[in-house]
């Protein structure tokens, strides 16, 4: 097998340490005498390094994961922050009555690993749920909040 048979994607595998020893040897031999391949490797390396250097995207302060509830035995997402479709509104309304296990979890964004006392933003959720449903004259809105607060014990 000639060195020229190496596919271009071998370069990414080479950078990522995903080649076996035999392929690595062939790649390095080709890189030694193929300037175009070296340029390709440099370009891929630049992109890869930039991706890996990106900071981790942080959720906005107060982001609430969940709550989730069960409707007719089916777990559904309940988004108390936004109202988007009639179906979603209906699901929330049903779930507000029939939730078997709804949980609101607020992220402690600043110190996610050290904060054990989570304070779900029930007031905000309640207001938003009520306002989201008021326009449609949904009687369930008076039953807000949807979520049930949970106090976590430390790990």
């Amino acid at each position: 097998v000639s060195r020229r048979d190496l596919p271009d994607d071998a370069l990414s595998a080479y950078l990522d340490g995903e080649c076996d020893a035999e392929e690595r040897t062939r790649i390095e031999a080709r890189l030694a005498d193929d300037a175009q391949w070296r340029a390709e490797l440099d370009g891929i390396r630049t992109v890869r390094d930039a991706l890996r250097a990106l900071s981790w995207p942080e959720p906005p302060t107060g982001f609430v994961a969940g709550p989730a509830g069960e409707v007719g035995g089916e777990v559904v997402a309940i988004d108390a922050r936004r109202t988007r479709t009639r179906r979603a509104r209906r699901a929330r309304s049903v779930a507000a009555v029939g939730v078997a296990a709804s949980i609101a979890v607020a992220f402690a964004v600043a110190t996610p690993s050290s904060s054990n006392d989570v304070a779900p933003q029930l007031a905000t959720m309640s207001d938003q749920h009520a306002s989201a449903n008021a326009a449609s004259a949904d009687p369930i809105s008076s039953l807000a909040p949807v979520g049930v607060p949970v106090t976590f014990s430390g790990p």
């Binding site: 596919p7 990414s12 630049t46 890996r52 990106l54 982001f63 989730a68 988004d79 976590f152």
Partner: protein, 166 residues
């Protein structure tokens, strides 16, 4: 539920930030990332019943990428806005990223925009490799595709990113 399996609440509390980060890199804006996390957590809750303790973040990354791909397929079947238009603006509700204040933030924003423009199969492979840090084998298992396909998608994705940034 086997020993070592976290509860749904523990996943949301301890790995919500991880889920959000992966989701954000996949969709490129805050609102869609939040939606993705919510749906992923619903699947987490269902999936914990059959979860085998192992690489939890690998498992979570698989769930959030599957939610992302399912949503893309659903939009293609019933597009209310052409998918290409969604890609151009970085999501159905626009790009949330704040205005860049320095060179590093500007590069980050450009890279995120370029990432959002990748075909989703390439995007998922690149995000799982370069953002989440999974190995090719782990991505192969996670996505149910051969390692050779993983390798090809990662490389082609990176090459497209380089072209978009040059």
């Amino acid at each position: 539920v086997p020993d070592g399996t976290p509860t749904w609440e523990e996943v949301a509390r301890d790995h919500g930030r991880f889920l959000y980060g992966v989701a954000y890199r996949l969709v490129g804006n805050d609102a869609d990332a939040q939606d993705l996390v919510q749906e992923a957590l619903v699947r987490v809750r269902r999936g914990l019943e059959t979860y085998t303790p192992g690489s939890l973040e690998g498992w979570l990354a698989r769930i959030v990428t599957n939610v992302f791909l399912d949503e893309k397929r659903r939009r293609r079947r019933r597009p209310s806005v052409p998918v290409d238009d969604l890609e151009r603006v970085g999501g159905s509700r626009g790009v949330h990223a704040p205005a860049p204040e320095d060179a590093s933030e500007e590069l980050s924003s450009e890279l995120q925009r370029a990432l959002a423009g990748l075909p989703e199969d390439f995007r998922v492979a690149v995000v799982l490799c370069d953002v989440v840090g999974l190995s090719y084998d782990e991505i192969s298992v996670s996505q149910g595709i051969p390692v050779g396909t993983v390798r090809s998608r990662i490389h082609r994705g990176r090459r497209l990113l380089r072209e978009a940034l040059s």
